[in-house]
């Protein structure tokens, strides 16, 4: 994957290259250090009660020595899956609109709007959700803070990611393809469907990976709108608690076993991200960074 056909002869470049190597090493080392720290803090509890307790205990009640992570893991996965399922088509379609159907002035404005949406802090989304969205859902079907609220807020938050990445990917599709399609007399939608989507596949997958990563890791907004009840939801209107919200709620005062349990849930989150990256690699068969 490295471009080893770039050769450098000047000595002045050697310093630069070593600085780059050093910085890259630091960045990689930080990730590894975080991983080791998580494992280090989680090991006492894992050694004490074993792995199966995290799946088979009655519930999550650290004060009573119960550490079942499954309801919260289910909560994280469901919230992530539903929000990605809703946001991805919306994001890709809005990128298609922006690139191929909108007049240039509107496309410019739309792009800025999406960028603004991407920049809003998650706490603001959570606040808006708590004060506006949750009472609205509550009027529809109590209690209000629910899986649905979490899904809607997360969709709003990850939509800009996929939209902007898709937009950039579409802009990078080789113009020869478009010209070839025009010459062949293909309609706009046929071009997009048959030529642009396959050509943009790697970029779109990158976008989906990015948005899924954000959906898994989002803490503040889901803490404020999801209800935080530890249970496997039976319907869209049931409250859930995600692993991230759990850590935020309890980290400040967790001691000993409780603290280790929270680090175990942190490890589970890292594992989820690892699986996500592995899926990305498999889907792209190593061509993620080729043009």
């Amino acid at each position: 994957m490295s471009n080893s056909n770039i050769s450098f002869h000047q000595r002045s470049e050697a310093v630069f290259i070593w600085v780059l190597r050093g910085l890259a090493l630091i960045a990689g080392a930080i990730v590894l250090l975080i991983l080791f720290f998580l494992i280090w803090e989680a090991i006492p509890l894992l050694q004490q009660i074993g792995l199966s307790r995290f799946l088979t205990d009655p519930s999550w009640h650290p004060a009573s020595n119960e550490f079942n992570l499954m309801p919260m893991l289910t909560g994280t996965l469901i919230v992530m899956a539903t929000s990605v399922l809703v946001a991805t088509p919306l994001g890709i379609v809005s990128a298609v609109f922006c690139q191929y159907y909108a007049p240039p002035a509107i496309a410019q404005l739309y792009r800025r709007l999406i960028e603004l949406l991407a920049g809003i802090p998650s706490v603001v989304y959570g606040f808006w959700g708590l004060v506006v969205l949750v009472p609205l859902i509550g009027r529809l079907h109590p209690p209000g803070p629910s899986l649905l609220a979490g899904t809607l807020i997360l969709t709003l938050m990850i939509l800009p990611t996929i939209a902007l990445v898709a937009d950039a990917t579409f802009a990078n599709v080789a113009p020869e393809y478009l010209k070839g399609c025009a010459v062949l007399g293909l309609s706009r939608w046929a071009t997009i469907r048959e030529v642009i989507f396959p050509a943009a596949r790697a970029g779109l997958i990158t976008g989906i990976i990015l948005e899924t990563g954000r959906a898994i890791g989002e803490t503040m907004a889901v803490l404020m709108v999801c209800g935080n009840v530890v249970q496997v939801p039976n319907s869209l209107f049931d409250p859930v608690r995600t692993l991230t919200a759990n850590i935020a709620l309890e980290m400040a005062y967790a001691v000993d076993n409780h603290r280790s349990a929270l680090f175990v849930s942190g490890l589970v989150l890292m594992m989820l991200i690892g699986i996500l990256v592995a899926i990305a690699e498999v889907l792209n068969r190593g061509h993620l960074y080729d043009k």
Partner: protein, 292 residues
């Protein structure tokens, strides 16, 4: 010569090219030194205090801290909430200078010292539009354990009850459970919230919700327009008068805790927080002065 040509001429001069970044660095360093308070005059109280803990005490201490900072310009006070358990843990580990705890210390917390700055109660709150004006203790227990799930079973509208509970580690939960003789595990909630304000906003946004928060925050928000109302317990209204004369059954002291005997800035601030100078803040926030 045009301005452009002059500028380019200047750039072409070698010394200017090295002088510009050096000047920039020098200016940055000088600006940074402006941020530090001048060391000469402020010999007395100076420094930084970090207080963490109960979300009930945090707004009160925040106001007191603002007044203290106004009187002592060299001091910066940082107030964070996170629950009484966080206050205890942070004070023990030294992460915070002073912990804020909204209950009396337990037996296993004897390594800490507590200083009471106010008294407060815990009250059940409903939305203003809810026709119910009082609930018996047994009814509250039934609602919180989901034996009763509809308001009409206790004399209200035909609507499902949304039960709002506090997260573990919050002393408001502990006091609530202790008074109503509930195991925290037995409480079946629809929504779990963190601090008092989140609880109040949740109940204010849902006409069929029931929750419990500190009387201080509830009264404060109710008088500032939040559509909630406080329920009486056993006939005693949830007011600061009843907390002061001990008629209201669920009351607790608001404490500042330290690991060791407070010294220096810590002691100064704790004395300030218990002095007559801040009793108007205590009243404003609908808490009761500890001396009453």
């Amino acid at each position: 010569m045009t301005l452009n040509a002059l500028f380019l001429r200047g750039l072409r001069m070698k010394y200017l090219r090295t002088l510009a970044p050096l000047t920039l660095v020098a200016v940055c360093l000088w600006l940074q030194s402006c941020a530090k308070p001048s060391n000469q005059a402020r010999a007395q109280t100076q420094g930084k205090l970090v207080l963490t803990g109960s979300s009930t005490v945090a707004p009160l201490v925040s106001e007191m801290a603002k007044r203290y900072e106004a009187d002592h310009p060299g001091v910066r006070i940082d107030v964070q909430s996170g629950g009484s358990s966080r206050g205890i843990a942070d004070a023990r580990q030294g992460v915070a200078d002073i912990g804020m705890v909204s209950r009396t210390l337990k037996e296993n917390e004897n390594d800490l010292q507590a200083f009471s700055i106010a008294k407060d109660g815990v009250s059940v709150i409903l939305h203003k539009e809810n026709p119910i004006s009082a609930l018996s203790d047994q009814q509250v227990v039934d609602i919180y354990t989901k034996q009763v799930t509809n308001w009409k079973a206790v004399g209200g509208k035909d609507a499902p009850i949304t039960v709002v509970n506090k997260a573990e580690g919050r002393s408001t939960l502990e006091l609530f459970a202790q008074y109503f003789k509930l195991e925290p595990k037995a409480i079946k909630a629809d929504v779990v919230i963190g601090d008092n304000e989140q609880g109040i906003k949740t109940v204010a946004g849902n006409p069929n919700a029931i929750g419990y928060v500190s009387i201080g925050s509830a009264e404060y928000d109710a008088t500032h327009g939040s559509p909630i109302k406080l329920l009486p317990i056993k006939g005693n209204a949830a007011s600061i008068a009843n907390v002061a004369n001990e008629k209201f059954p669920i009351s607790r002291p608001l404490n500042l805790v330290t690991k060791t005997t407070p010294t220096g800035l810590q002691k100064d601030f704790i004395d300030f927080a218990r002095s007559p100078q801040v009793q108007d803040i205590v009243k404003q926030q609908y808490f009761v002065s500890p001396t009453q």
